[in-house]
């Protein structure tokens, strides 16, 4: 189906184009990760994701033992616009899952 022009990967954003309508992984600043279906993006890596799961990780120091306690919290959002300036990396669909 795909023509040569559609499937050629010449620059990084081409790889993201091939992930349209697929579930992708996005790592963001401030220890946030998203998994969701890619519905739109632009050259800034602004995106719209669907059926999004967000995982945020925070580290707290226990007052008494001074041990680091790593907490992760999860939530899901039906549709999310993500501003591109917070994006660290985008990974195409995981073939393993």
């Amino acid at each position: 189906m795909a023509t040569e022009e559609d499937s050629a990967v010449k620059e990084p954003l081409d790889l993201i184009r091939l992930s349209l309508d697929e579930r992708i992984y996005v790592k963001l600043r401030s220890d946030r990760e998203l998994r969701g279906k890619l519905h739109a993006y632009d050259q800034h890596l602004n995106m719209i994701l669907g059926e999004v799961e967000e995982v945020t990780t925070s580290v707290e120091i226990d007052d008494e033992t001074y041990e680091e306690i790593v907490r992760t919290s999860r939530r899901t959002v039906p549709y999310l616009f993500v501003r591109g300036d917070g994006v660290i990396l985008v990974s195409p669909p995981l073939r393993t899952s």
Partner: protein, 93 residues
């Protein structure tokens, strides 16, 4: 231009704008500009017990650069239109 056009279509719908200072503001999208600065009407801070800083604000302007996420209403997302617009933009259109 893709997201500027998209948000213009969304005017009048309810969104939740999450900022990079962890504040989440819900409201009716009133307008947007090319920087993706956003104006909201009938606003409410989602957790206004923890964040009472905007209790007397009902309309606000949010600078695009401080936006982390915008939660979109499901009836404001047409995935086929978004896919087409994205492919067109990717081709440099």
């Amino acid at each position: 231009m893709l997201f500027f056009s998209y948000f213009k279509e969304l005017v009048g719908k309810e969104v939740i704008v999450e900022l990079k200072n962890d504040l989440a503001i819900s409201g009716i999208l009133h307008s947007v500009d090319q920087y993706l600065n956003i104006k909201l009407e009938n606003t409410r801070v989602v957790d206004d017990t923890k964040y009472p800083h905007m209790l007397s604000v009902k309309n606000c302007f949010i600078r695009g650069s401080v936006v982390r996420y915008v939660q979109l209403p499901p009836d404001g997302v047409d995935v086929d239109i978004l896919h087409d617009a994205t492919r067109r933009e990717a081709r440099g259109g």
